[in-house]
Amino acid sequence: MATIFIVDDEPTLHELYCDLLEMCGHDIVAEAYDGEEAVELLKTMDEPPEVVIMDHRMPGKDGIETTKELLEINPDLKIIFASADKAVKDDALALGACDFLSKPFPIDDLLTEIEELIAAV
């Protein structure tokens, strides 16, 4: 079981992630709808999340920019990119994202990745 932080501007995807991850026993500890909010939220969290699910195309700061800032606050964050912008895959991985899931991806891929990440800790 992992504590998870969702960053995505699409509310239905929040619902999907919550329904799915909670069904599988994970704990959604924070949700942000844009990059700014994500950065602010992380700063206020006493306990950092074990996994961040990061969208790329969001109003204001994009996922790459947001990832940069989150990693500056906490370099140990495990960030999984979940985006329909395949073109930013290389940038995301180079920046330190743990994985890049290209939307639409089978949810098994997400679950497996989360399990691997928490097992590695």
């Binding site: 995807l13 999907l16 329904d19 799915l20 069904m23 979940a82 329909a84 639409p104 089978p106 949810i107």
Partner: protein, 483 residues
């Protein structure tokens, strides 16, 4: 030319008579005689002789030189002056009428004929030169481009009508002095100066683009082609053509905008549809994971799930296609093998029993291509598997050098249901068939074709067994060798 027709203007009857006899004997035709200037002018207008023999001293108020002036104003007829030694003082004045020769009386026949022949010949040349000059002047004036000439310092010495119209200068401006650099926008002047120097040194420049400037200060983009004017082996100026390219620039900009717009739509659509597909497929996935989900509906959800994935595949195909068509992917020397191996892997993972036999090996077959080669192989192999209903799908992939040694020839031989001759021709041309109903194989083969063509190669399909399409197909690829 027939007999040359000659008009004699001479006020001394005896001399005139002698002249006519001599000339007629010499094989010319005397078409008339005049003994004073006015008659000479009238006779010249009416008879239009090929040549006039004109005595300088005539009876009456006007002399032969006056007559020559008048004739020259209206007609283009060569004149030979006849003078006595005592009249030689007139010769200087006569010069201005551009006579072809002087004959001093008393004349010798030989000298007379030689002068006549020379005058006739020179006047022919002059006429041709005039015609040729008129032709080039007309062409220059008709050209919708600016034509100009300058001296070696860049002062304009000539420009055509278009030049005046285009730049808004008048004949008065021109006569007051204009330089070619005045026509160039200030920011481009240094470059223009440099280039003028180069052309004057004999360097060949292809058309050079400048921002040029009208009299009112407004500017427009233009290409200037120029060449040195050579006179007595020296470069004494420039001759050039200036083409307004504002229309071309605007068209280029429009096309660029269209490209950007198309890219934008594709990007927007694919991003948002993929996001929506994530929600749909995510929930379908979720349904299947629920312990209480009734197993008898499992199949239905799986079909729905499959189709959501298919729509994502279409989106990614369209993106690939637009990337190929926009020519964004660079070509380098690549090994065929890695792309082929991963395409084989993809084809094998389609939950069918698939056997793919091939002699393609690593480090042996190189082409000029890019990472999209995988899509070509993957589309061909996936199709081959899809349309083969045998329990075990068997595909042979042969590779050989083309007869001209320029290409690697790959043959994908399947044992599927084959392709009709009609369909063989159109199977790769989904885009050309854009108006037709969208059925059939999707975009895979069209993508393959565009990619292969972007490499300078080609792809087509034949029957695996000639004449019997039911035995399967042979998809043939020619890929340009990469050294």
């Amino acid at each position: 030319m027939g007999k040359a027709r000659i008009l004699i203007v001479e006020d001394e009857a005896v001399v005139a008579e002698n002249l006519e006899m001599a000339i007629t004997d010499g094989g010319y035709e005397v078409v008339g005689r005049a003994d004073n200037a006015d008659d000479a002018v009238n006779a010249a207008s009416e008879l239009k002789p090929d040549l006039i023999l004109m005595d300088i001293v005539l009876s009456g108020k006007k002399n032969g030189i006056d007559a020559s002036y008048e004739i020259k104003e209206k007609l283009d007829i060569p004149v030979i002056f006849l003078t006595a030694y005592s009249d030689f003082k007139f010769v200087d004045k006569a010069k201005n009428t551009e006579p072809y020769a002087y004959i001093v009386k008393p004349f010798q026949e030989g000298q007379l004929f030689a002068s006549i022949e020379m005058a006739l010949y020179k006047s022919q040349i002059a006429k041709r030169l005039k015609a040729s000059e008129a032709k080039f002047r007309d062409l220059t004036e008709l050209l919708p481009q600016t034509v100009f000439e300058t001296d070696e310092r860049g002062n304009l010495t000539f420009t055509n009508r278009t030049g005046f119209d285009c730049f808004g200068y008048t004949q008065d401006d021109f006569e007051g002095g204009l330089t070619v650099l005045q026509m160039i926008s200030p920011e481009d002047r240094d470059r223009a100066k440099e280039n003028i120097g180069k052309v004057l040194k004999g360097e060949y420049l292809n058309g050079v683009e400048y921002l040029v400037q009208r009299k009112d200060g407004s500017t427009f983009p233009a290409i200037i082609y120029s060449t040195p004017i050579i006179h007595e082996n020296k470069r004494v100026g420039l001759r050039g053509v200036l083409i307004d390219i504002i229309g071309r620039k605007q068209a280029e900009r429009r096309i660029e905008e269209e490209y950007r717009r198309a890219e934008f739509y594709i990007d927007l659509m694919s991003h948002d549809i993929n996001n929506a597909s994530q929600v749909t497929s995510g929930y379908l996935d979720l349904l299947l994971r629920m312990p209480e989900f009734p197993p008898k509906f499992r199949k239905h959800v799986e079909i729905a799930l499959n189709h959501v994935r298919k729509s994502s595949k279409i989106i990614s195909d369209v993106k690939t296609l637009s990337e190929v068509q926009l020519g964004e992917a660079e070509l380098t020397r690549i090994d065929i093998y890695p792309a082929f191996a991963s395409a084989v892997e993809t084809a094998m993972s389609q939950s069918r029993d698939v056997e793919i036999n091939s002699d393609i090996t690593e480090g042996r077959y190189f082409i000029r291509g890019n990472a999209m080669l995988f899509s070509v192989f993957s589309n061909l192999l996936t199709n081959a598997v899809k349309f083969d209903r045998h329990d075990i799908v068997k595909i042979d992939v042969d590779i050989s050098s083309s007869d001209d040694d320029l290409y690697w020839k790959l043959e994908f031989k399947d044992q599927g249901r084959g392709i009709s001759d009609h369909y063989k021709k159109i199977i790769f041309n989904r885009l050309e068939r854009a108006g037709e109903s969208a059925q059939g194989t999707g975009l895979g083969l069209t993508i393959a074709k565009y990619i292969v063509e972007s490499y300078g190669g080609s792809v087509w399909v034949e029957d695996r067994v000639r004449g019997d399409r039911t035995m399967g197909s042979n998809f043939i690829l020619l890929l340009p060798k990469g050294g």
